[in-house]
C-alpha cells in the first residue's frame, strides 16, 4: 500500500517538475524538517560495489569530493533494508572518511535504504551537526522518504532506458531504410544492364526481318517475330521493375513540378491514339479544359493514363471503343478510362492492383505490374483508384476511376516507413 501510494506520488510529481527537482526538494526538506546539517542521496554503482553522490543539501563540495564510498559491511546492512545510525562519525571505525566528517562538522549520520520495485537503488544519508539519535517515528518517516527517492530514481532509469531504446529503434529504422535504398538502386542497375543486350538482340532480329541480311523462310519469319514479341515482353517487365523501384525509392526532385492536368490528359490522349488507331479501336475523349494544376510528376501521371489505356486496348477488339473522361468534381479531379473489352471477373477485381497479378496467369502478354504501378502513382498524389466491371450501365467492359484532390502536394516518397 505504502509503495503504491509513494509510486503514484512520485509519478505525478516527476511529471510536474522533473526528476532532478524532486530529488533536490527531498534533500532540502529532509535537512530542514529534521533540523539536520545536511542530507545526501548516494546511488549504488552497477556492480554494486560503490556508492556515488547523486544530490545533496547542506554539504560542502569538498566533502562531496572526498572520494567514492566503498560498499562495506555497514552499507551492506543498509542495502539489505536496515537503517543504521552512527552517532560519532569522527571516532567510529565504520566511517570511511572520519577526518572529512570531522572537518565538515558532522557529528552523527543516519543511513536509510532507498528501496524501489526492482531493488535498493542506494542510500539516503542524513547528517547531524552533533551527536544525536533519531526516534523510531523519525526513522520510519525518513524510511518512507528514502523509498520515495528510490522510486524516483527507478523512474528515471526507466525513462533513460526508454530513451535509449527509442534511439536504438530510430537507428535501426534509418539503417533499414538505407539498406532498402541500396537494394532498390541495385535492382535498377541490374534491370538497366539486362536491357542493353536485349535491345541489341531485338535490333538484330528486326533488321533480319526487314530483309537487310538476305531473305528469310516463312518459318524463320514466324519465329523471329515471336522472338521479338518475347523480348518486348521481357523489356516491358524490366521497365516496370525499374518504375516500381523508382516509385518505391521516391521520385527525384526534377520530376516534381507544377503540372497542368489538362496538358497531361491531352498529351496522354495523343499517346493513346498511337495505340488505338493501329488496332481499329475508337478513342473518345471528353476532357474538361482548364482543369486545376497540381504539384506532382507529369511523367508519372502520363504513365498512369497510358498504362490504363494500353490495358484497355489489350482487351478491346477492333471496332470497340475506349473513352477517356476528366472533370473537376468538387475539390477533386476525376479521371475515367472506360473500355468495351471483355471485362474483369468480379471475384478477381479486389486483386487486380496487386503486384504481379494477372487475370490470366497463362497469358504471355502483360507483366502484372501495370495496375500496381498505377495504384502507387495515384496514391503518391493522395488519390484513390478503383475498377468496376462490367462498366456501370453496360453489360461489357471495364471502368477505371481515379480521384485525385486538386492542388495536391505529391508525397514524393511512396510507402517509405515513417
Amino acid at each position: 500500500m505504502r509503495k503504491e501510494l509513494l509510486y503514484e506520488i512520485s509519478r505525478s510529481v516527476i511529471a510536474a517538475v522533473g526528476v532532478q527537482n524532486v530529488l533536490w526538494a527531498i534533500v532540502e526538506s529532509i535537512t530542514k524538517g529534521t533540523k539536520a546539517k545536511g542530507c545526501a542521496l548516494l546511488v549504488l554503482s552497477q556492480d554494486g560495489e560503490k556508492l556515488y553522490h547523486r544530490v545533496s543539501y547542506g554539504i560542502s563540495p569538498e566533502y562531496i569530493g572526498k572520494g567514492v564510498i566503498e560498499v562495506d559491511d555497514m552499507i551492506r546492512c543498509v542495502l539489505a533494508g536496515e537503517s543504521v545510525l552512527v552517532e560519532d562519525m569522527a571516532n567510529d571505525p565504520r566511517i570511511q572518511y572520519p577526518e572529512a566528517a570531522k572537518h565538515e562538522g558532522f557529528g552523527s549520520v543516519l543511513s536509510v535504504p532507498m528501496r524501489s520495485y526492482t531493488g535498493v537503488k542506494g542510500v539516503m544519508r542524513v547528517y547531524a551537526g552533533k551527536q544525536r539519535t533519531f526516534s523510531k517515528d523519525e526513522i520510519d518517516f525518513l524510511d518512507s522518504i528514502a523509498e520515495l527517492s528510490g522510486l524516483v530514481l527507478e523512474k528515471e532509469e526507466e525513462r533513460d532506458r526508454m530513451a535509449l531504446e527509442a534511439n536504438r529503434a530510430r537507428e535501426e529504422v534509418s539503417r533499414m531504410s538505407d539498406e532498402r535504398e541500396r537494394f532498390l538502386y541495385f535492382i535498377r542497375m541490374v534491370a538497366h544492364d539486362l536491357k542493353a543486350p536485349l535491345a541489341a538482340v531485338e535490333s538484330y532480329l528486326k533488321i533480319i526481318l526487314k530483309g537487310s541480311t538476305g531473305p528469310t523462310t516463312e518459318k524463320q519469319e514466324v519465329w523471329l517475330n515471336r522472338s521479338v514479341k518475347r523480348i518486348d515482353g521481357m523489356l516491358e517487365l524490366i521497365s516496370d521493375i525499374v518504375d516500381l523501384s523508382k516509385l518505391e525509392a521516391g521520385l527525384d526532385s526534377p520530376e516534381l513540378t507544377p503540372v497542368s492536368w489538362t496538358e497531361v490528359l491531352n498529351s496522354s490522349v495523343e499517346v493513346a491514339r498511337g495505340l488505338t488507331e493501329p488496332r481499329g479501336i475508337e478513342l473518345e475523349n471528353d476532357i474538361e479544359q482548364n482543369l486545376p494544376e497540381i504539384f506532382g510528376s507529369e511523367v508519372r501521371l502520363c504513365q498512369l493514363i497510358n498504362n490504363l489505356v494500353s490495358n484497355s486496348a489489350r482487351y478491346t477488339s477492333t471496332g470497340g471503343k475506349i473513352a477517356i473522361r476528366a472533370h473537376q468534381v468538387e475539390d477533386n479531379v476525376e479521371v475515367l478510362v472506360e473500355d468495351e473489352g471483355r471485362g474483369i471477373r468480379p471475384e478477381i477485381i479486389p486483386e487486380i492492383f496487386n503486384d504481379f497479378f494477372k487475370g490470366d496467369p497463362e497469358s504471355l502478354e502483360g507483366t502484372g505490374l501495370g495496375l500496381s504501378i498505377c495504384k502507387r502513382i495515384v496514391e503518391m498524389h493522395n488519390g484513390k483508384i478503383w475498377a468496376e466491371s462490367p462498366a456501370p450501365g453496360k453489360d461489357i467492359g471495364t471502368l477505371v476511376t481515379m480521384v485525385i484532390p486538386k492542388g495536391v502536394v505529391c508525397s514524393h516518397i511512396w510507402g517509405k516507413p515513417e
Binding site: 536491357k195 531485338e202 528486326k206 526487314k210 537487310s212 523480348i231 521497365s239 526534377p254 499517346v271
Partner: protein, 128 residues
Amino acid sequence: MPKILVMDDDPDIIDALDTLLGGEGYEVITAHDGEEGLAKIREEYPDMIILDMLMPRLDGYGVYKALHDPQWSEWKDIPIVILTSVSEDVSHRRYELETGVRMEVAAYIEKPIDPDVILEGVRSILEA
C-alpha cells in the same frame, strides 16, 4: 550518298545500324565513345550523327555540349539523332523530365532499333 556517323559503345548496335543503313546505300562511319566520335566528326564531316547517350569517356550529352561550343561552330549544324537506350524510355519529354537534360536535336529514336522508324527518320532529316 550522305555520310552518317553512328556513335554507340554497344558494338552490336553499331553493327546493326551499319548493316541497316549501309544496306540502304548510306556511307556509315562509327565511333565507340564520345571522344572518338568528336575526332571522327572533325575528320569526316558527316551529314548526320546518330548519338547514344550512355557511353564511356565522353557521353552523348558531352558530345552535344561540345558541338555547341564556339570552337566547334563549323560542325554545329550537323543534325543529331539521339538514340535513347530503353532505360531512358518512351518519349523525348519523359527523358527530359526524368533527367533534367534538355537538348535541341533533330529526333529521339528508341532502342531496340525499329528499321522502319530509323530509316524514315534518317530520310526525312537528310531531306530537310
